[in-house]
Subunit: 275 residues, 4 copies
């Protein structure tokens, strides 16, 4: 600031401030990843568009089938999921559907929405050992034992509500189909299965893979970065968040709280006192 840049320099800085590979716009023209929007409309499906925007290229047909499956699987888990409850509550507070969705989506953090991303990182750890020449089952045992020794939670396995998650088996079966068709290598499916077996052996009981473990296999097989696994989960769960916010709008209610007003909460603080 002391040596104030001249106008030419300022203009150059300003033009270079926002740069993107994604979209090129000029009056009358919009191109995503090089394709004209008017050619994309009607010629590619919405999930293909998602892939084009995030990976830069369209998916192969077999890849698309897996991507659709992962996106379909995670749309909703009911009004007791905090993201859904938040959106439903916010919808009664006099903000638009965008605001209700934003408050809910915002809660899809490391704990609520991050297991898929964390599970991809877990798989990557095993994959790295395999690339160094270790057998996948040995690598899985090593990684699982190390995590458990540190008292760490194992993302992608076990579910606090479902003894067996009805989504994961179906998703893995689709990965298997895709593998047989040569669409994906299946290496991450092997890793996920090896972890399941390592867990069962170490714990002495079956801790089945959950939806995050299964979608992590798909996103890894499709070459997405772990952080995008969370992004994809958000795109998927946004559908449920919208559906519930909209349903709540229809049900009415003004300032709906988490429980019926007649159910008292528990106060545990100081007894009445004066200043």
């Amino acid at each position: 600031m002391q040596n104030k840049p001249d106008d030419s320099k300022l203009a150059k800085l300003a033009k270079a401030w926002w740069t993107t590979d994604i979209i090129d716009i000029s009056p009358g023209s919009i191109r995503m990843r090089g394709y004209a929007i008017e050619e994309l409309i009607g010629n590619i499906s919405f999930p293909e568009m998602i892939c084009l925007m995030l990976r830069g290229e369209r998916p192969q047909p077999g890849e698309l089938r897996l991507l659709e499956a992962a996106l379909v699987s995670a749309v909703d888990h009911g009004p007791q999921a905090p993201s859904i409850a938040i959106a439903r509550m916010a919808a009664t507070c006099g903000i638009g559907i965008n605001g209700a969705m934003a408050s809910g989506i915002n809660a899809l953090g490391d704990v609520h929405g991050g297991a898929g991303q964390q599970c991809m990182e877990l798989y990557a750890e095993v994959a790295e050992l395999c690339q160094e020449g270790m057998q996948v089952d040995v690598a899985a045992v090593q990684v699982v034992e190390a995590r458990m020794a540190q008292g760490k939670f194992l993302p992608g396995f076990g579910h606090r509500f479902h003894p067996v998650d009805p989504r994961s088996g179906r998703l893995l079966a689709l990965v298997q189909e895709a593998r047989e068709a040569g669409v994906v290598s299946g290496g991450y499916a092997d890793i996920a299965i090896a972890i399941t077996e390592a867990l069962a052996t170490i714990k002495g009981k079956s801790i089945p893979m959950n939806i995050d473990g299964a979608t992590a296999v798909i996103y890894a097989e499709l070459g997405f970065a772990p952080e995008l696994a969370r992004g994809m989960f958000i795109l998927s769960r946004s559908v449920g968040i919208l559906a519930h916010a909209w349903e709540q709008t229809g049900q009415g209610g003004r300032i709906k709280g988490p429980m019926p007003p007649a159910v008292p909460y528990t106060y545990t603080g100081p007894a009445p006192r004066d200043l």
Copy 2:
């Protein structure tokens, strides 16, 4: 509260507090709109799932094609759209991708994300006059003149950047195809065209339909409520918001502001003073 309800009453109230038509969950089972999730996965596409969640039933194939087109058309409009810029800036501030997306999606309010919804309400106004027996072109002129007499903005028409919006013509052509195939009635397309013509006559120059005007035709033809037009726009634009937040993450930057720091803003307040 004075007459405290007993436990049986409290339990009943609590169970009835959250009710939903959308999803039924019990341990090991998840059903959306009656369908088991393991049957949905792999058998319906993601946009079909969106429709199932929001309308309660799957779309017909021809409907699906229109829905896909509308969802594809709105994913992005570049880093100078505030929703996109907000998400990119937020991504440099040390919050997760969920937070960056939430801050951006939150901005899709009445002005930035609401034109489609408002345009559906405009079309509905004309449709109501037609149902009372008025010709569509007469009704369009009446409604447009009434709005203009009140100095109101006409949602769905004109664009501050594109002289002709490259998306709307293509979308309308798909509606026309669907109409010829008997998929939709086309009544809302007629209304939109009548409004375009009324505007041109009244203004003395062409004010072409924009993307909001065209997607409003599609959502109206598919029977969605106006508020869901905004919901659909949000689902679509979320893809662009995610893509840009993710790209910005890759570009790095810490606490990226709206303009390069060397470009000064203009201070217009009081001169330096003392308390």
Copy 3:
């Protein structure tokens, strides 16, 4: 865009894009409303700073006392207020305290956080009639009757939980003190009392003023715009939102939903079916 502006024009446009009366920054110097930050720190209180930032000038001492009272009164209304519940739930989802606060604050919309703003608009309606020469009690009856004839909710009066709101009487007493000390005119207090009386007469029973009605008197007496009444309420309630989010963090819990998982919600949708 067709006639691309040259660099000098671009630089000028960029510099004029963000303009503010609030703050002037240069390397080593920060001035708010003309005052150097190092002079403000330690010499004015936080609520004085709030007033300086929002009104452009510091409050008079008597004004400050009223502003403090209004800010103190609204900090919290317990975990069943959706803004508080949302922040507590979000705090368990693995997002920072900023995210938990944002999701909660976002819900302070027209219904949950807007009553103070709406009540100021109600008072302004009566004030306008008084300025035209009508007696305040006559004006109050006219406005209340008109609202009730339209089936409209009367913001600022009645409370779904408190038969008598313990905050409003105390706040009004402080306004009365300030009036006697010549700090404020008290015109809005008269309007609020006239509305209370009009309501009691028309409804045949007392519908006491609530916190929004009382803080609206204070903000109106202090000359704030109605939209800032909501802004002030948000600043106040943010304290409670932070306190609860922080307490929940200490209590632990992972992905805490609105009710205990064992309390089932009610599913009312289609019976099980196949695709």
Copy 4:
């Protein structure tokens, strides 16, 4: 769920789901930390209330003076701070002031709003070594060298815009005053100064303490947990966010982007291509 709990158990679970030390409400009564709201209103200042809500007890007068100073110091850093720019942009998109504030506050994450919290953790690291008997200057050198060896950023020191931060000296002077008055021990001020000196020696040039370094001293001296340093920063910055969102509302503008539309962004993606 398999063994469904009976109503009495459900009621008990529901009542225990939300527990709080902060607030106790019953019809006609609101008590925070044991104090009746009608006694708090008019008798304690807003910052005292902040302290009561967050620490459970009111501050001593000398503590209050420090808390006020910290809260005053951080309210704003101009429209190029992303939290402020986001709120200003959001305010033009047709969402309420609550939404504009939420989108901005949400961006106060680890990078944008977290330096104070991180700096408190840095101080705590040095404090721990001192408690083990190490001299503060030795401990500071050890901690700074360890961080620099790991290539880590040192929160609380240096500023990308201000060669000398005008806020930190003033804040430290107030801490010194409080120390001389026996209000605080000053141990954290010693640590902060030792780190400043260690940094200057190791780097061979002065890297002055910034606002986060100085407010971290205050919050540590007052006994707040590091995460609350971020919470306090958010309460403070919310004032600036509100002031700017409100100013932007007054300036008008519809869908304001980060730069003037005439300033083009840089597209770096694929050349035009066909599907």
